[in-house]
């Protein structure tokens, strides 16, 4: 079994305004994994990350990081984590190069100019390395934040929506770089709202909603076991599913989505007979549709289904 880099146990956080952001979150991030932490806005992702960054104090619970208790061995843990916070902000007095050597120093390391230049190069900031951070665009600032989290070469990098506001091309390159980093042994924990990217990049995933973990597993396992398929049928415009029909088809969990009738099929059941059974039952009850098809759930569908954000 892969050793655990980060083990979060029963973490609770209630803010002073009474909002319970984390309701006993437990998670395990394997060493060397590329871990996606997903959840709708306000699910508690940032609270969890901010607790690791030591900008938020948990109400109870514990975190073990590479065999060290995060709260009693704070300084050791801080020195070995690089956090990219969600909000972009810089001291207005410094240039990117100065920011990076300063962060290096704060982490107790002698600024390694070769590594700093490499980071600036990789994150395409070299041209702006000696300009004031105020002159950087939003995307550049975010990349500088990433560089800042990597400059002390931590074994765990935590990124809170690192690609928000970064254009598609650069986002791709940023991901390539993160992948490279992960391949060389760095454990990466990231939150993102781009689910197709989480699906493409990450090998582990946890979905949290309203302060609790809904599911946490390997990406493939999640997509294999949790993701389903559905059959959709389109009838004439304005057609609605009646209550009696819904009851008759209840074994397929029928629902309307974008004017289509959707019936759930389990991926395991995606054999002709099951599909056929669903299709036949519907046609028998409602008549032949104008159009029909089968779709497989991707991470986004699973996410929406599990976090009850589906509008159907």
């Amino acid at each position: 079994m892969t050793p655990t880099a980060l083990s979060v146990n029963q973490l609770h956080k209630a803010y002073s305004n009474g909002k319970e952001a984390l309701k006993g979150v437990s998670l395990s991030v394997p060493e060397g994994s590329f871990f996606a932490l997903l959840g709708p806005n306000g699910a508690g992702k940032s609270t969890l990350i901010n607790i690791m960054a030591d900008t938020v104090v948990p109400t109870s619970g514990s975190i073990e990081f590479l065999g060290h208790d995060m709260f009693s061995e704070r300084l050791w843990c801080k020195a070995n984590i690089g956090v990219v916070p969600q909000e972009v902000a810089f001291d207005p007095f410094f240039t990117p190069r100065e920011v990076l050597s300063m962060v290096c120093g704060l982490y107790g390391q002698k600024p390694d100019m070769k590594w700093i230049n490499e980071l600036l190069e990789h994150l395409e900031l070299a041209e702006y390395a000696d300009k004031n951070t105020r002159q950087l665009s939003g995307g550049m600032r975010r990349r500088l934040l990433v560089a800042q989290a990597l400059v002390h070469r931590p074994p765990l990098v935590v990124l809170d929506e690192p690609t928000a506001g970064v254009d598609v091309k650069l986002r791709r390159r940023l991901w390539d770089y993160m992948r490279e980093l992960n391949t060389s042994g760095t454990t990466i924990l990231l939150t993102t709202h781009y689910l197709e990217e989480a699906e493409e990049l990450c090998d582990h995933v946890a979905i949290i909603d309203r302060g609790s973990v809904i599911t946490s597993s390997g990406m493939e396992k999640l997509l294999h076991e949790v993701a389903g398929s559905y059959l959709w049928l389109r009838y004439r415009d304005g057609w609605e599913l009646g209550r009696a029909d819904a009851e008759a088809l209840s074994e397929f969990n029928p629902r309307m989505h974008e004017g289509k009738l959707c019936l759930t099929l389990n991926r395991m059941d995606l054999q002709q007979s099951t599909f056929h059974h669903a299709y036949e039952s519907t046609v028998q009850r409602l008549g032949p549709p104008l159009d029909a098809g089968v779709c497989e759930e991707d991470l986004e569908d699973v996410f929406l289904r599990l976090t009850h954000e589906d509008t159907t």
Binding site: S16, V57, L75, D91, F93, V103, L106, Y107
Partner: protein, 253 residues
Amino acid sequence: MNLRGTWTLFKRETHRFLKVNMQTVAAPALTAILYLIVFRYAMGDRQVPGMEVDYFTFLIPGLAMMTMLQNAFANTSSSIIIGKVMNVHIYLLMAPLSAIEMVVAFLAAAVLRAVIVATVFLLVLTPFVDLSIHHFGLILVYGLCGSIIMGGMGLIGGMWSENFDSMSMVSNFIILPLTFLSGVFYSIKQLPPLWQQVSHFNPFFYLIDGFRHGFLGVGDSDPFLSVGIVAGFALATVLTCWYLWRIGWRLKE
């Protein structure tokens, strides 16, 4: 011990005020000199009652100390409040520095700024006045303790404040009156008895009086006795800062 980290933070805090040195060093020195000119001509050659010095000479060390105190306060308070408002303070919270390392770095930079500003002020005046030094040790101890106390107050004030408005409330309604009413511009012997008593509860009074004693050899209190009060106050300030930073008072949620 993260000595390099502490040194880096000290350098950052120093860099911050040196980069805008017109505003942080030259301007306060000029303000002090303007006060001096105004009072010089308003008061003429009048002597300070009960002391063998003229008002002008009396004023110089007091103004130098007041400038030190205000600048030490400004350095830490502005750093913390700018950090909070711009949300860059989270990088300090994230850094692997212990509370005492943070406090030491912040206070050392505040002391450095205070010393630089006071030195510039005194150097500019040297050609025009005869600046005698009665006891350099007193100047050093009082200057150091005063800057530490005010640097610490700045840290605490910055942590307490939510925005620039509440910050300026602290500096204008607490710090400014305390420094102005501490005997910079008068000897407390000139005050009614009640206010003389009250002045003895103002820590800034001891700071200014002791510092001035170092230059002039005269003052309102025994400077060697007051060293205890001042050093104790400095220690208490440092400990308070350390404790508040440790619990992340008004910095962490």
